[in-house]
């Protein structure tokens, strides 16, 4: 039997992402039921200042070094592999974000562990670990049972309560030197997004269009709607990739994370990468003609219909009301 569970902290722009605390929470629960210690690893320039917030873990490994400018999977895996081997760690949790992406499969290839992506749930029962993953853009779930309870799991943000990962206790901190092994990839610079005409993260009403809007011209009905109810128009990735709206309007994993009072999703299927950006909106209303669209699993109100049958009529009625 191996001796531990490790959570790889995920952070961007000097902020620990919520999913790190989600992982610490579920990690603690698993560690207690499996009677194993919980470790965490924080890598990055200034990482030591985050470590005190990781008291839910028994030990926190810290690699703080000016030379570490950005998350490169190869570097993270060099560090992880050493810690995992030296401490006989069997379970590793990594964030299912763009920052941590690549770490799981690369570590799996190096250690010959199994890697399971898109995890929504992890349950330890009768000496076995079961991982539930969300596949096919959220339309199908899969269950994988690991009899040896050994593996690497990437956790979809929003799967577990972040509160369960926070503690006021102070963890034992272990400083680890930078491996200095040389990397095959060289980080050059960050490219900040161009400031858009509106900052969608500050809007309290968002009307969001997805591929179901059909064409660039049709986006005008979303414009018309926000003219009446206020707010701004934003979109899912395909709309941005087509060049129909600027990158500053993209919601999701690679785009913006928003928490408006109202998020109206028009023709958006609700892939996990999109949900990541808007799941915490106070009120989500979705219009989609597919009754099985995963967006209906996060929306409070759903309308299974064609956008064209609903939105123009809604606009007319709102105009009448004024």
């Amino acid at each position: 039997m191996s001796k531990g569970i490790l959570v790889l902290a995920d952070h961007t722009k000097e902020v620990i992402t919520d999913v790190s605390y989600e992982m610490l929470g579920i990690g603690r629960k698993l560690a207690d039921s499996m009677n194993q210690p919980l470790y965490s690893l924080i890598i990055g320039d200034g990482a030591e200042k985050f470590a005190s917030g990781f008291g839910i873990a028994d030990k926190v490994f810290v690699v703080a070094d000016k030379k570490i400018e950005i998350a490169i999977p190869e570097l993270i895996v060099q560090i992880l592999k050493k810690i995992v081997t030296e401490n006989d760690i069997s379970l590793i949790l990594v964030a299912g974000t763009n920052i941590s992406s690549g770490v799981g499969p690369l570590l799996a290839a190096k250690l010959d562990y199994r890697f399971i992506h898109f995890c929504k749930n992890l349950i330890y029962e009768n000496g076995e670990l079961m991982a539930t993953s969300q596949l096919f853009g959220g339309k199908i779930f899969s269950e994988t049972v690991l009899n040896d309870c050994k593996g690497i799991f990437s956790i979809l943000p929003g799967s577990f309560p972040a509160e369960a990962g926070k503690a006021s206790r102070f963890p034992e901190i272990i400083d680890i030197p930078h491996p200095d092994d040389g990397l095959k990839i060289k980080f050059k610079a960050f490219i900040e997004p161009e400031a858009g005409d509106v900052d969608v993260t500050k809007e309290s009403i968002l009307v969001s269009v997805g591929r179901g809007i059909g064409s660039s011209d049709n986006i005008s009905i979303a414009d018309e709607l926000v003219e009446i109810i206020g707010g701004a128009v934003c979109a899912s990735r395909p709309i941005i990739d087509q060049g129909w709206l600027p990158l500053s309007r993209q919601i999701g994993k690679s785009g913006m994370i928003v928490k408006p009072k109202l998020y109206m999703a028009l023709g958006i299927s609700g892939a996990p990468e999109h949900i990541e950006g808007m799941k915490d909106a106070e009120l989500i209303i979705a219009v989609n003609k597919d009754s099985a669209a995963p967006i209906f699993n996060v929306a409070q109100y759903g309308i299974c219909a064609d956008i064209d049958d609903i939105v123009p009529m809604l606009i007319d009625k709102l105009k009448e009301r004024k």
């Binding site: 763009n98 779930f141 899969s142 990839i185 500053s248 989500i284």
Partner: protein, 259 residues
């Protein structure tokens, strides 16, 4: 540059998906196949690179329903070779597929100093994570995923890529060739190819078929069960005619003090 690109058919999730009787796979009769969306971008990026820097683009795929269409489409866009790997690979998981592809690249001596291997970044059924990292490890070459821009510097034989992070933030990385990258989005939206052009290419070009037996590679462990998401937490659906639905919607918006 010598570009090798791996593409793959996936289920179109806009259609209804049915779980097969074994509860471990999708019912293939119900699937409408399409080229994985990020692969479409990978093909586009490969062609853009060829147009800019010259070289040769080879598109490689495992045999799958409708894969010929995707391969001809890539040829019509400007790819030079299309290769279809046949054999009983249907139930192989990503780490096994990565071994197959890596072995093929080694056996055919395709990994030369100017080789750039590309795939789409992250398919929708990607339970074992990105294929490129398994391949990068097998081939011992630099690997980078979620790429949205690629430039080649022939004087140094290296590429400059942009990798996507969150909030629109990207990082610029420098990578020596040979290397493997996963394309998230091409610099331009994938071009549209008229059917007539694809028909024409079907007459002149050929898909090279090769057979590779699956000996010495482990298929990997299968999933235990597939299931449809539980219905709990589902939205309250507004039913009725559009007139009734929009009336209810206005009621909700005004109740929540939005209008």
């Amino acid at each position: 540059m010598n570009i090798l690109i791996f593409i793959r058919m996936v289920a179109d999730v806009v259609e209804e998906l049915k779980i097969a009787d074994d509860f471990k796979s999708l019912d293939i009769d119900w699937i409408r196949f399409r080229l994985s969306e990020t692969d479409e971008h990978a093909v586009e990026q490969a062609i853009l690179l060829k147009e800019k820097y010259g070289g040769m683009v080879t598109v490689i795929a495992l045999d799958a329903p409708e894969v010929d269409d995707a391969l001809y489409n890539a040829l019509a866009k400007g790819a030079d070779r299309a290769i279809k790997i046949c054999g009983d690979w249907m139930n192989f998981r990503s780490p096994g597929i990565a071994k197959l592809f890596s072995n093929y690249i080694k056996d055919e001596n395709l990994l030369v100093t100017q080789t750039l291997i590309m795939s789409g970044s992250q398919a929708i059924d990607d339970l074992e994570g990105e294929l490129i990292y398994y391949m990068g490890e097998n081939l011992n070459i630099p690997t980078c995923g979620i790429v949205t821009s690629v430039n080649y510097r022939s004087d140094f034989n290296l590429i400059n890529v942009y990798k996507e992070f969150a909030g629109g933030l990207r990082g610029e990385f420098e990578i020596n060739l040979p290397a493997i990258i996963g394309i998230q989005a091409a610099e331009k939206p994938p071009r549209y190819i008229p059917i007539a052009k694809i028909r024409a290419i079907m007459k002149t070009a050929k898909i090279e078929e090769i057979d590779i037996p699956d000996d010495h590679i482990s298929a990997g462990k299968e999933v235990n069960r597939l299931l449809e998401p539980e219905v709990s937490g589902r939205a309250t659906m507004l039913e009725g005619s559009p007139d009734e639905i929009t009336a209810k919607l206005i009621e909700i918006l005004s109740e929540k003090a939005i209008i």
